[in-house]
Symmetry: C2
Subunit: 413 residues, 2 copies
């Protein structure tokens, strides 16, 4: 049944190189649909809706919109905001006031919780609307989908820079013998694990990869590094930022928490391990924390990932217009040698606030590398390169003009 | 006058994305020259010569050698080793024993000192040989050359990632409002300065850039950041790793020194400034230290830089075969609107152990940005992109086979 009204799309959580591809997919599919009267972007996620900071996407220049396909960062602005109980009714009030009937939220597990709650409240209040979650996270930790848009590109980046900085390490043995790279990923090790895709021979970096799915034992780590160093004369180690000791405490974490109550990671683990190695082995070590570089490198974006991020955006609109609500679009991989992946969907309640880690059987015995099952899983996700347009020696990225829609314009539709 | 004998080429100091282009230039030009009887690479710089760790470059596969043009890292291995007084005679002894008459050293200011001393000792001892330095440093701190091969690519990387992580910052204002990126460069600010090439409007990152050519004043820095934050709601700051306070002490540096007696930098300045900002402004800040990523990113290599690095390698052989010795090849830019750069040379004594900083008049008033003279200087150096071959989703880089030449083979030539 056709539901006529306005549409809001918003972005949430950490940006990825391809999050704007999902935005573009939504815009492209919604563009000519008569039932979607207004096509709006909310600035900075749900906080932008609460503050009625909307932009009129149909007024944007077409060339700019197409530029979203190779522009990293969250073009609408993103947020980490867990809605308080009293904010949900306010959100619905705004949807009603502006006659918003479609809401697309591009985000991770916290955002899917928002999608779930908005869907429930709208149903309770008898306000007909279609709420659809679009998966996005470099962490790849969403359940119910084979993988998450954003992961393939960040995985390709991690593997690529391990190869490049591995060459740097091998060429400078007189200065450093050990490099420790710290990947993002919070409580799951998907991103750190991707480093193994760089390896082509036993001597090749990375030599050791540690994931938070297994407890991190310092003594074992040091003896692992020593063994590799003795065999090859150098060692390249990749660690996931969320490593925990056998009692379940982070090895290193800041005291402060983010808006979702998560401890801040990425500030100190690799530095700590570097010092540990130097105190144990007669070598200098170096650490690398790629920080937001790993979620914003368009030059390392995966062609496969770019395409899939775009497709899940399009599919979200298609499914909503078919009448579905309270779902998250998924990627479903077919069994078999060849990589074939289709879009699907699940009830968003199956995803909200849940985390999917690397299966323990994909971690190699010794807990310091990955088994071939992981490599077979991850390899197809980093295939394909993106031609980024350059101007004046630098990538040419776009910014939305962010035209403010007149409130009258919204209401009259 | 034709001088017949063997040739050794070696790499020294920190690798760059294009250091292997200079190596390839040497190999290509020396390949068919009859006066160059043996064409050898020394592993790990001068230390490889002292240990007679040589490889026979003419036995390498041609496809592998051509792959050097897009492979980062030091393919021969590099070193940071300041020769002790007693090691110079030993070096010359090895040259004599193996009848080495040509020595090409690809490196920075410390390496040019080695070139100078080897040249002098050979002359004193009446051993005829041609010793030529080939400039290489991402720091761009060599005098007597317009710029240094390696700088253009690292500069392009810094500007590119400031643009990308700047988009990330702008998209995530609910989490962080300030990003501080720490660039390499030791005592000169060339690399940090390159960040300004990313800027296209006043609101655009970077907003503030601090170089070691000017004393760093903490109070001034904090009020600069506050001013930018008040105007735009966020601030992107780039600092050079070697910032010093008004009394001439590094703001942050490790206690240890490297083999050249330099203090180790790059471990703490940005982290320190992040905490400082957070204690002063009501915002969260983030820091990024690209570490060896900035000297190994082939995807951000400058086409101009790749070509020039190759040309200085070729020119070194050409000049040596014309009879010159004790020189460093240079890049000479013609005056005028259009960028035209030719190769030249200077006596290596003009370069050895000297540093060239960013001219003070190129630093903007306020000491927190660059003037247009710098932009006009640097812009041409980052032009052009490199097509890196990918295989299986990752860059395909090469490793030399490193064929060991039989000592008999060397001597009989």
């Amino acid at each position: 049944m056709t539901l006529k009204g306005g549409c809001i799309v918003a972005q949430s959580g950490g940006p990825t190189p391809v999050i704007n591809n999902s935005l573009y997919g939504v815009i492209e599919d919604a563009w000519n649909r008569k039932e979607i009267t207004g096509l709006y972007g909310a600035l900075y996620g749900v906080t932008g809706i609460l503050q009625e900071q909307l932009i009129d996407l149909r007024r944007e220049d077409l060339a700019t919109l197409k530029g979203l396909r190779y522009t990293p960062g969250a073009a609408l602005g993103s947020c980490r905001h867990r809605l308080k109980a009293e904010e949900y009714p306010r959100l619905l009030e705004i949807f009603k006031k502006l006659n918003i009937r479609y809401f697309f939220y591009i985000g991770g597990n916290d955002s899917m919780d928002t999608v779930d709650k908005v869907r429930r409240l709208a149903r309770e209040e008898g306000y007909e609307m279609r709420v659809v979650g679009i998966p996005k996270t470099i962490d790849n930790d969403l359940p119910a989908t084979d993988h998450c848009p954003g992961y393939g590109s960040a995985a390709k980046y991690i593997a690529g820079v391990v190869r490049e900085t591995g060459l740097d390490l091998k060429g400078m043995l007189s200065t450093n013998r050990v490099t420790i790279l710290e990947a993002m990923g919070r409580n799951t090790g998907w991103l750190a694990a991707a480093a193994v895709l760089a390896k082509t021979s036993p001597e090749d970096p990375p030599h050791l990869v540690y994931l938070p799915e297994r407890p991190f034992e310092t003594e074992k780590f040091l003896s692992d590094v020593r063994e590799v160093y003795r065999e090859f004369g150098f060692a390249y180690v990749v660690v996931s930022e969320g490593l925990k000791d056998p009692t379940g405490n982070y090895i290193v974490a800041e005291e402060t928490q983010d808006a979702f109550g998560h401890r801040q990671l990425g500030n100190g683990l690799a530095a700590y391990l570097k010092k540990l190695v130097e105190s144990y082995l007669p070598v200098k070590a170096r650490y690398i924390v790629p920080s937001t570089l790993q979620r914003s490198s368009m030059l390392y974006a995966s062609g496969t990932d770019v395409e899939e991020a775009y497709l899940v955006g399009k599919e979200a609109v298609r499914l909503a217009c078919r009448g579905l609500s309270g779902i998250m679009v998924t990627l479903e991989r077919e069994k078999g040698e060849e990589y074939i992946c289709r879009v699907g969907y699940v009830d968003v309640a199956q995803v909200a606030n849940k985390e999917k880690g690397v299966p323990l059987e994909w971690i190699a015995p010794g807990n310091n590398f990955l088994a071939k099952e992981f490599i077979e899983y991850a390899r197809p996700l980093i295939q394909g390169e993106v031609k980024v347009p350059f101007a004046g020696g630098l990538p040419h990225y776009v910014n939305l003009e962010r035209y403010v829609p007149a409130v009258e314009r919204i209401r009259e539709k």
